[in-house]
Symmetry: D3
Subunit: 132 residues, 6 copies
Amino acid sequence: MFSVTVRDHMMIAHSFRGEVFGPAQRLHGATFVVDVTFRGPELDRDDILVDIGLATRHVREVVGALGYRNLDDDPDFAGVNTSTEVLARTIAERVADRVRAGDLGGATDQVTGLVVTLHESHVAWASYECDL
Amino acid sequence: MFSVTVRDHMMIAHSFRGEVFGPAQRLHGATFVVDVTFRGPELDRDDILVDIGLATRHVREVVGALGYRNLDDDPDFAGVNTSTEVLARTIAERVADRVRAGDLGGATDQVTGLVVTLHESHVAWASYECDL
Amino acid sequence: MFSVTVRDHMMIAHSFRGEVFGPAQRLHGATFVVDVTFRGPELDRDDILVDIGLATRHVREVVGALGYRNLDDDPDFAGVNTSTEVLARTIAERVADRVRAGDLGGATDQVTGLVVTLHESHVAWASYECDL
Amino acid sequence: MFSVTVRDHMMIAHSFRGEVFGPAQRLHGATFVVDVTFRGPELDRDDILVDIGLATRHVREVVGALGYRNLDDDPDFAGVNTSTEVLARTIAERVADRVRAGDLGGATDQVTGLVVTLHESHVAWASYECDL
Amino acid sequence: MFSVTVRDHMMIAHSFRGEVFGPAQRLHGATFVVDVTFRGPELDRDDILVDIGLATRHVREVVGALGYRNLDDDPDFAGVNTSTEVLARTIAERVADRVRAGDLGGATDQVTGLVVTLHESHVAWASYECDL
Amino acid sequence: MFSVTVRDHMMIAHSFRGEVFGPAQRLHGATFVVDVTFRGPELDRDDILVDIGLATRHVREVVGALGYRNLDDDPDFAGVNTSTEVLARTIAERVADRVRAGDLGGATDQVTGLVVTLHESHVAWASYECDL
């Protein structure tokens, strides 16, 4: 099994609803360093799993669409806490859509799974993984 | 599948028995940077897998109980080498006990697995993973 | 010359005023990983420059007072952009006040300078350094 | 399940064939920081999965044989692009051969899988994993 | 004194002339993770030392002009070994030219020094610093 | 001004005398990731400040002589706490002796200063710098 990972980041504001969050119920923010991992059992005829340049560009678009925003105002997250877990899943689903749509070229047929990891600090991070 | 990881560390002394260890048979020590990963397929009604604050507190207690000690004197490790692998398993088992006991709140029902990684230096680390 | 550094972090929301900031004029946020470096030419009679435990506690208080907030609402920053440079200076000044007040014990007489570095992502950071 | 990882690196020149590679079709190079992970369900009578010293030595030999070279001239890679994925697989296969040959001592019977990760920069890396 | 640092990277091939280089006399390559630090005593009216976006763009151009190349063929380095130290100086000089030319906007007047650090691996790096 | 840094590590046991150290008065240990930085204003005729291979070898010897030991038993540290600051100074002095003795080849004349940084964990480190 092969995997290829590219790293990007985004800077967002948000707040959480629920006593469990303590002071994080206040409006605050985060830099999320985002690692998107593409997985698959075979390489293509160019001897790669994905075109890293193409992967980087699509991850940039997906992550960039979330950045420099207050996620509390984003209708896509109405009624849900934008926890690190939820944001990892959202990015994974949006990248998955692009893979399925053929946007990643040859990788469309080869990538069988994704893992998205969001680092919220040097001491905490969360991941979401899914099959394609 | 989701995962959440929190990082802590401990500083311990120990020695190893067995020729395979070479100079590490002498009393020496290590800083272990400890990553504890909680895994599970579902989020709770607060949209999280575990309360990171609560997880951090319990990991601190488990890791803190081992720190600033000579592990050669700890009866829990009598007759066993406190290798990085063994310490990763010990920490995983102790955190697992707390999850099973309900100490991590809602996460008790959601966390289905743990991975504990101990970094002994910038060039070597070991992990232990288990289901709950 | 000796130096000792301790690392902490904070998660904040803010926005910037000025066309130069582009999309960062919108409300967004950041995790700042904060490194506070104490500098001085001599060690004390315990053979240390600062008590790392004490330093860690005071840095935690200074950094914690800024965290989980929207800095746009903080009167201490009225009329100023809370750029990474400005926040590094603010934290340095607040830690410097504590050193001068004798809060860091023996280090009060030994620490002759501070450097505060704020990492806003894996690809950008800023520092402020000052003499005491 | 246990795992032990050791890190090394190599510095190589190469070029790629295929339009997908854009400017990387030109002769260029890379530092690959190489992480080799040994996996297995049981520890040996010394309470370790692998002897880290022995593992480090064999990884050094495998990685060192590739380093300080232009991989375009290496007959082992004739007709194949030396992508990060391909190099991860090559290193995994060569380490696997050594494990199977008994070169890693007791680990020969215990190691049931390998993962090799090559970091080509701070923002991109690739892995290959296999069972033994 | 303030400083702001942005990180980028380049992947190049080269060889060295001189017995001191041992196997690195052969054609090989490197990924250089490049940190460019701008230093200055004052912030501008936007409360920043440099516009990070603008700095990132210019560093990208300077570093990008060197990347995906065999530096042995670059006339700018005729007769000189492209050691990590030499490349750090080259990048510093080229960024300095842009600062002096006013390309970094307000930073032109404020930036009084540069430090460029090139990481050639996880265990070795080199820097060049200069006044403006 | 140029600088070149090489990284190594050591694993030691020790204890501290003095109430300020709290639980660290007990026998414990540490992994120190050691960065040795050589500084100087000029490059030699090979276009380098120091031969990284030679520097790595000498740093290995200096650091290796301290590793896998209980520093409480080392007569070189009798009556002194082996704090991170003290160990940074010790390593700097021992590397400085080798530079002065001509062990680093051409670098003997070029290296005008040293900085040694010891990372005791992911959240604390200390440095000692000196002129030659």
